[in-house]
Amino acid sequence: MLNCKQASELASRAMDEKLPIWSRLALKIHTLICRNCRVFMHQLRFLREASHRFAIGYDLELSLEAKQRIANELEKR
């Protein structure tokens, strides 16, 4: 029987790869009876979605000075 620490490790791993069948089953059984671990899996999916949106929307601007400086360097080549 898995404890929550182990279940959380498997749940995280399951986000990145397909778990071996026995781990998958063990996790499934654990989450049937454990509310906290079910919530954790929700949180993992939330985190993934947030990360992906962050990756798309993260948008900063070079300062004008930096841009000018880089442009000057490029000009020299």
């Binding site: 919530v39 070079l62 880089i70």
Partner: protein, 188 residues
């Protein structure tokens, strides 16, 4: 579509891709000046190697590829100065703040209500970025590679010279930390 025009005119690269490269770099090095230097190095290297750009990938993907190499070089230089603690003793007590002695959760967990509304708020993304920047360097590196860059597991292990178990441990810890940080700092 003629994408060849891009290739012929590196003068537009700074205007068209500079901010993107800068954002990408700053998220990883957390220092404005270093990020600016990396953008410059990347563009210089790209101009020098422009003949090797093939239209198979987009110009931006190609530039990011060069920037990634520059980042790896940067971290290598840095690692000579900063010694990361060995993975296992990085923080032995880390998991104790989440799990009790019997290995069950210390606290009742709660889902994030209304993800969509969170994603639409500036404040959420500010908190998200702060939480990312508080991760330990190795956790951050592996987490960003996986979730932001979309690298596959094999490449991540190769790039950071770790095995799959190391990767599971780092991802698990990064996720626990981020979720906890978001829960504390973001009121949904």
């Amino acid at each position: 579509m003629n994408i060849g025009s891009d290739k012929l005119d590196p003068h537009t690269w700074l205007d068209e891709h500079g901010n993107y490269l800068y954002s990408y770099a700053l998220l990883r090095v957390k220092n404005q000046h270093i990020a600016e230097d990396l953008v410059q190095e990347t563009l210089l290297a790209a101009i020098a190697a422009k003949n090797s750009f093939s239209n198979k990938s987009s110009l931006r993907t190609w530039l990011i590829g060069i920037l990634k190499h520059k980042l790896v070089d940067h971290f290598r230089r840095q690692e000579r100065n900063v010694t990361f603690k060995d993975l296992t003793d990085e923080d032995d007590n880390f998991l104790d703040s989440f799990f009790a002695k019997d290995h069950h959760w210390r606290e009742k967990l709660n889902v994030f209500e209304n993800p969509e509304s969170a994603f639409q708020q500036q404040e959420f993304w500010k908190v998200f970025q702060q939480c990312l920047s508080r991760l330990k360097p190795r956790q951050a590196a592996v987490f960003l590679a996986k979730e932001i860059d979309g690298m596959n597991n094999q490449d991540i292990c190769k790039r950071y010279s770790i095995n799959s178990t190391n990767q599971w441990v780092l991802m698990h810890r990064a996720r626990l930390s981020l979720i906890k940080c978001l829960k504390i700092n973001w009121i949904d």
